[in-house]
Symmetry: C2
Subunit: 195 residues, 2 copies
DNA sequence: TTTCTTTGTTGATCTAGGTCATCGTTTTGC
DNA sequence: GCAAAACGATGACCTAGATCAACAAAGAAA
């Protein structure tokens, strides 16, 4: 169960974890399973845990003043899921995080974060993770203002085909910032062009 | 000139810089001035410098396939300006960065980054900066899919009134993901509501 | 099986915001 | 000082995508 996490850390820190370090990790990261549709976090709560998905799929979303849900993040195996703002700044969460499938995670309690960051490869891994994440959301922001719906969908298909297979269309649509009807029509148009 | 930088670092690292650390900083961060309209970075180049703005204003933007500019970042005194992806991953820049006013900066060469990160308060400052930045772009992404143009403008007014005063409307419009005409009308409507 | 929920499609219509064009006003460069 | 550029406002029109509605199909639940 922990192997995926170790491997992830070693990959992104570009270094090897010692046995003692691995022990610290197993003492601070705890397994948690969530049934499909169960909430990992609700708006208004404190996000006390950061989760690494070992198996399953989750989605993060906000609810606006009109009660409309807007998907902000979709995550599957080997991804992190956390309300960063709430977790790092210890403020009430503005997002919901929900298991979309039955999901197994390893979760890091916020109060253990500082201990964990003493390990250089962990610090490096978090550093890289933040960097990558930031670049990705910058890219997403840019796409949303400069590309039409169809191009955004095609980009997602290219970049994260696995995501498209794991979530239904109305969730993907919301992630792309369009309605399910528009995504349905966009897919038809694209299919027409590539016979 | 360096005082602003020192102060910024001490503020966000929540610690005090020693004299020797300050010396390292003055040896690695170099002053650079840019005339209005001069480029700090062009698409395709390597972003070899991260800039801290001491005085002035800059904008970062991309140009899409149709030649339309999309403002991705606006920065004034005490802000950083850098193409993160290019700087950290050493890949060709996808953005332009241009001085909007005559600007004084302190710039950190990419090859000095690793030296600088040895100083704990610097590492901490970068950590915080990345964290904040990430949260901000997440917020911006959320706003753009969930709020109408008028609300986005009002939010910007509340959050960064200084930005609105320093840049012309067509730049602000692009930053908000709308056209200058729409911003003009939106402002009229808002002015009508608050007589 | 039967019922209920979730998912996806398609049509009709609407609208926020984009596009195009024009025209003052202000700034800037020389 | 003057021409040229940059800036901002406003009108007329257009369109990508939203909204509303109806319906089919496929799971999931019972």
């Amino acid at each position: 169960m922990y192997d995926r996490l170790f491997h992830y850390i070693e990959q992104y820190s570009n270094s090897t974890l010692s046995e003692s370090e691995k022990e610290v990790l197993t003492n601070t990261w705890k397994p948690q399973t969530l049934k499909k549709k169960a909430f990992f976090l609700r708006e208004g709560e404190l996000c006390n845990f950061a989760g690494f998905i070992v198996k399953g799929a989750m989605r993060q979303y906000t609810v606006d003043d009109n009660g409309i849900e807007h998907v902000s993040e979709l995550a599957i195996e080997n991804w992190w899921i956390v309300d960063r703002k709430s977790y790092f700044e210890r403020t009430p969460a503005t997002t919901y995080i929900e298991a979309w499938e039955n999901t197994e995670m390893l979760v890091l309690k916020r109060s253990n974060l500082d201990i964990i960051l003493e390990i250089p490869s962990i610090k490096e891994m978090f550093w890289q993770m933040n960097q990558r994440n930031q670049i990705a959301s910058q890219q997403r922001l840019n796409d949303i203002v400069s590309l039409p719906a169809s191009k955004r969908y095609e980009n997602l298909q290219k970049k994260y085909p696995a995501i498209i297979e794991r979530f239904p269309q109305h969730i993907i649509a919301s992630y792309l910032g369009i309605t399910k009807e528009t995504l349905s029509r966009v897919r038809n148009r694209i299919a027409g062009k590539n016979p």
